[in-house]
């Protein structure tokens, strides 16, 4: 009996070993990802301060949000940044194609490292640096205009509601996304080299070649980058929070920042209301991520 019992008990033990391996990850995901998510959905139907106020209001928060003109301003601002960010995917695409066409492999490597340098610099440093470059008194732009004798063109930049959105968009200049660039390059490297020889024999111009070969073949990579741009523009608000805090007025407030400010930006914080904004953003981002899944599937 003993040998058989030993084997079965060992097998039993082995069955539990599996749980020991996966339990930490399951617990971390359950406690620090799922619990807050469900808690947020739940409390978006409440007035809530995280402590002693917890009053069920049904759809009240959502009604209030949808009738708040500031919210709609933030949505319009978000759409502005969204469109800009999509258009500004182009420089990275062009740069990756040009970079790929450099024949000399050592030069190609050198340029690739050069384009990746901004990745080393913490985002906050770039934002704070630009905040200073826009400084109306001492900053780069007005100094530059002064040095060209164009004082009359000097601006308040971040202080000017008509200009501030463009200033935020310009912070990315020249809009090379290091990670997107690497993704495009990986895609180009995958292509069959015979395509290039055929095109060279055809005598197609560089632009024709880009339009007929490279760009169609990068469709998958483009979609991948597009999804991250979409998700970033819909839910992100780091830049606005750091550089302008949504101002002046509400001219750079985006929905994510609107959510943040309703929770942490004022004395009468309402976590329930903010969670309801979060839930709306969550649903839009979820829709994007589901659509993207479908896109990627169809690509395969």
């Amino acid at each position: 009996m003993s040998a058989l019992a030993a084997v079965t008990s060992k097998k039993k033990a082995a069955r539990f070993v599996g749980y020991a391996f996966v339990l930490p990850a399951v617990l971390f995901t359950a406690i620090f990802d799922y619990f807050p998510m469900l808690d947020g959905i739940w409390h978006s139907f409440y007035r809530w301060n995280g402590n002693n106020i917890e009053i069920f209001v049904g759809l009240g928060n959502f009604k209030e949000i949808l009738s708040d003109s500031v919210f709609w301003t933030s949505v319009r601002n978000m759409l502005f940044f969204l469109v800009c960010n999509i258009v500004l995917m182009l420089p990275t695409l062009v740069a990756s194609i040009v970079l790929f066409r450099i024949k000399h492999s050592r030069w190609q490597y050198a340029y690739r490292v050069l384009m990746c340098i901004p990745m080393f610099i913490p985002g906050i440093v770039i934002m704070l640096l630009w905040q200073f470059l826009y400084n109306p008194q001492y900053g780069f732009l007005n100094q530059l205009l002064a040095s060209w004798g164009l004082e009359n063109l000097q601006q308040l930049w971040l202080g000017d509601p008509a200009m501030v959105k463009w200033c935020l968009v310009f912070i990315g200049f020249p809009w090379i996304g290091s990670i997107a660039l690497l993704i495009y390059l990986a895609g180009l490297q995958n292509l069959d080299s015979s395509i290039w020889d055929a095109a060279a024999i055809d005598g197609a111009s560089p632009l024709q070649r880009a339009l007929s070969i490279e760009i169609p073949l990068l469709k998958g990579q483009f979609k991948l980058n597009l999804i991250s741009v979409l998700a970033g523009a819909v839910t992100g608000y780091n830049l606005q929070l750091v550089v302008t805090n949504g101002g002046p007025g509400f001219s750079t407030t985006v929905p994510g920042l609107y959510m943040y400010q309703h929770a942490f930006g004022s004395v009468n914080a309402d976590y329930g209301y903010a969670s309801a904004v979060g839930l709306l953003l969550f649903l839009i981002a979820l829709l994007i991520s589901l659509l993207s899944m479908k896109f990627i599937r169809s690509e395969e």
Binding site: P36, P174, I183, A274
Partner: protein, 272 residues
């Protein structure tokens, strides 16, 4: 001849682009060795004397923040790699009841956006008494990293030849020993990539420490630098020196792990 001009054009394009990309950083470097007067009256010039004391002044303020960031980012990276590595091995190789549902629970979170989590996570950290502690950042960073990295680790473990693990079993090695001495060395590239990625995410995170770490002596560089920028208006030289100092650790980290980072990234993207 025609060919040479075309080649030259490409190089010119990329060099100009690179200069534009680096120009703000060059401005940052040159301002970091000037005093306020030199910055205001000679913005573009760089004529001495150089004020290297800006760096000493910045170091005083920035070094504790760097330490905080290193502890939080390093702690998150180490714990996360360990937890996701274990789970990847468990889901990829071991057999137990309920394996698939548990895996799907973690995997599904990858599709669910995190934007809603900020406020309830803050309340949770508050209720767990984690506010103003490194653990507020570390625990939530590890949690957030799990879905993606468990998925990646599982894929890698499944990709290893089965016989390899079987032979260890014949030797009588327990599962944990097999994991530690066989799986970990095999998974080293992807473990490194995962550690780098978690480290960088925590290092760059601004919003979460902004709401959870209020006490100044625990602040990481992100919220710390933003705070210094609002409290030291006018001291542009030392501020710029502080920005430079805060960028150095990532440069070091990247130069150590750049190859793995780029390869892992492109390798993942190729599969799409």
């Amino acid at each position: 001849m025609m060919k040479n001009t075309a080649e030259f054009g490409k190089h010119l394009f990329l060099i100009v682009l690179g200069l534009l990309l680096l120009y703000p950083l060059i401005l940052m470097l040159q301002m970091s060795v000037k005093n306020t007067e030199q910055i205001v009256y000679d913005f573009f010039g760089l004529s001495g004397p150089f004020h290297l004391e800006n760096y000493a002044r910045a170091w005083e303020e920035v070094s504790p923040m760097i330490w905080n960031s290193v502890v939080m980012a390093g702690g998150s990276a180490m714990i996360s790699v360990f937890v996701s590595g274990l789970a990847g091995y468990g889901f990829g190789k071991l057999k137990f009841v309920g394996k698939e549902p548990l895996y799907w629970l973690i995997f599904a979170k990858m599709m669910l956006p995190g934007v809603l989590n900020l406020i309830p996570s803050f309340v949770l950290a508050w209720k767990l008494n984690l506010l103003n502690s490194y653990f507020a950042v570390i625990l939530f960073a590890v949690g957030g990293a799990q879905p993606f990295w468990v998925f990646v680790m599982r894929t890698f473990v499944q990709g290893q030849p089965k016989e390899l693990f079987e032979s260890a079993k014949v030797d009588g090695a327990g599962e944990f020993r097999t994991f530690l001495f066989l799986a970990v060395p095999l998974l080293r590239p992807v473990l490194t990539l995962s550690a780098l990625n978690v480290f960088i995410n925590v290092w760059n995170d601004y919003i979460w420490p902004l709401v959870t770490i209020q006490s100044f002596d625990k602040r990481p560089i992100t919220t710390g630098l933003a705070y210094l920028a609002t409290t030291h208006v006018g001291e542009y030289g030392p501020l710029m020196a502080g920005y430079v100092i805060a960028s150095v650790p990532l440069v070091i980290l990247f130069s150590l792990g750049m190859r793995q980072f780029v390869q892992g990234l492109t390798g993942g993207a190729v599969k799409l």
